[in-house]
Subunit: 386 residues, 2 copies
């Protein structure tokens, strides 16, 4: 009975969306749908319209049920046409930016064959991109481009050569005498070292900031944070030591030996999103002789208590940066509540105490990649200002 | 009726395979199945046994039919268990090496959520790896590793900055005075610039050959060959000019300006697999002032006629290398028949004419990546021997 009721509700929502009927609290759905920019070559679906609605179309003629799951953003049941395709439109517009999703077909979980896959939720998931009003800052433009290098670095602690990605700025190979600061940039739970240069577009954000003269050139290192062995919700049991060993004892020495880095504390930063922010806070506070600039994107805040209980914080930390998506701040179950302390009040207290502290809120986004693309853009402009 | 018969046949095959009954012409299936090395983290299926049989398991409780399509290697219908999973084993062992596949679920095409995806057949497909007896040469080992760099190079002809991948050998950044030869290495129809470093494992093949002292260090450049706008079978209509423009007029100058290359003809090679071999033959013969070493992997042969009708061939070409999988040679519809001339007879004729010519046959493989991994291993050892 429950399933049946859900089916009816979902069908009503799809029908409402597809017929573009104006509801009192929902604008009419504009018929200007275009393929998502993340679609596989030549694929027409999924599509997105100018209001941010997403429309899905799946071919599965003999299926009994097909629906789209958009993480915390709810589900969209698709309706079958006579030709055997299943089509549906989201109940409401999606936030601007990148979203993971998957299909449920006859009770099984699959990806949409129309779009590219991105590693999230400990699996390769489908991705869709809602064009953002400020998408220019992460667009592929006709500017000089840096490179994203896949490295395999030796790790005794892991007994293998794990993969990491390294962004080098456009002029990196022009002058072999120039050395660069380094940002170690971590993904979130369920993601891996591919996240920041794929769904995060970190390399394009850097290329565009550099072309605009807005930042000092630096290297970004993106490694796997060993986050995925922990079940979501069991984060308190996460042991930071294995990743700290890989990062501090193995990866950093490899990077400093194989890239032209400025290898002193003043020129090394660490930041991370969500669980990568938790990792960043723990590792940097335990290693203030190694890191000077710290960024937490939707992954905790810094309080005066953190400062007072960490020897050397006031002398060694050059910047603490905290950010959230506005929907995280609005929602008491996200943002402030979840991550220990009001971020704005914390920032004010730190500033009063003379700490170089910054707080950024990404407008109209939640715990998702547009918040973090914008956070990187803001954070990058504050880094290595010596 | 036809579908019904197919269904019965397939069910019989699966049942035969799963129950491991010894048939007169088929050995018993050993019960030593292990997860494929290409599975997503933590995924138990697909699995492979020591004989090369593949076993698939898909969760889709309400599905009507689930089958596995393995390209030219036929299909495997899966049978539903009471728990809602669908399981089946291939009718026969698969060739060693990498294979693309996909699922057909209730008439729709999807990927197996258990395994990684690889770009082939103009879409991201599921991949499975049958351990090869000689897999050591492309294994991730504890040796110095080169890097695979994602570059975005300016292309006026394409009016964008297309992506290419560049392999640099392990010591590339050690001495800024050393310059390297370059191999331009092309994927096949339906694939893209990711193929050689992912399913091809070109970087690991190079790392291992270099660690063994078997080759001279060189750079490999892997770009998209613009092959996917042509329908398979319509290859005769393919226009080489747009890709030749990107490669010769845009990519090569970018690589020579941004990497420490030896940029003369003697130190530039081109090779490609399948349709990439056709591209290689056409572009190199039209540009013998640019390329000196040429490799065709399952993508055509060189005849004395090619030599005679190409001005400067005898003076300028330092190596022609041709390879096929043995199953291509055995099958008159593949190999010799398809690609214009008996490759062994052609090699003999070229050798008699004083051309440095090599012919390699990959044992017990077809038109697939293990043939090409081995071809790269052989070809690399013959390159840049000046």
């Amino acid at each position: 009975m429950k399933r049946c009721l859900f089916g009816l509700t979902a069908l009503w929502l799809v029908s409402m969306a597809a017929s573009a009927l104006a509801q009192t609290d929902q604008p009419a759905i504009k018929d200007d749908f275009k393929p998502s920019s993340l679609n596989q070559p030549g694929q027409e679906y999924p599509q997105v319209n100018s209001q941010g609605y997403a429309r899905f179309r799946i071919m599965a003629p003999q299926a009994q049920s097909v629906s789209v799951g958009l993480g915390g953003r709810g589900g969209t049941a698709l309706a079958r046409s006579e030709s055997g395709t299943w089509t549906g439109t989201t109940e409401a517009p999606l936030d601007e930016g990148f979203h993971y999703y998957h299909l449920t077909i006859d009770g099984g979980t699959f990806n949409d064959p129309g779009t590219l896959n991105f590693y999230g939720s400990t699996r390769w998931e489908s991705g869709i991109e809602i064009p953002a009003h400020d998408q220019d800052f992460y667009a592929l433009k006709n500017v000089p481009h840096g490179r994203v290098q896949k490295v395999l670095f030796p790790s005794k602690s892991m007994n293998t050569c794990p993969r990491a990605f390294v962004y080098t700025p456009p002029d990196y190979d022009k002058d072999p005498k120039v050395r660069y600061p380094v940002l170690y940039l971590q993904h979130g739970w369920g993601e891996d070292e591919t996240a920041w240069s794929e769904q995060g577009r970190a390399n394009l954000i850097m290329d565009n900031l550099l072309a605009a003269g807005a930042i000092r050139p630096f290297i970004i290192v993106m490694a796997y944070g060993l986050t995925n062995d922990v079940k979501f919700g069991g984060l308190r049991d996460f042991d930071i030591k294995p990743f700290q060993t890989v990062l501090v004892d193995e990866l950093i020495p490899y990077i400093d030996a194989n890239f032209r880095t400025l290898s002193d504390q003043a020129h090394r930063a660490m930041a991370g999103l969500s669980m990568g922010g938790m990792e960043t806070k723990t590792i940097t506070l335990a290693n203030l002789d190694i890191f000077s600039h710290i960024g937490l994107f939707s992954g905790g805040t810094f309080s005066l208590e953190d400062v007072d209980k960490t020897p050397g914080f006031r002398q060694k930390v050059k910047l603490v940066f905290v950010s959230f998506g506005s929907h995280e701040i609005e929602n008491p179950r996200g943002g402030r509540g979840m991550f220990g302390g009001d971020p704005k009040a914390n920032e004010d207290a730190l500033k009063k105490a003379g700490i170089n502290s910054a707080f950024y809120v990404s407008p109209n986004t939640a715990h998702e990649f547009l918040s973090w693309r914008r956070s990187l853009r803001e954070f990058a402009q504050m880094l290595f200002k010596d």
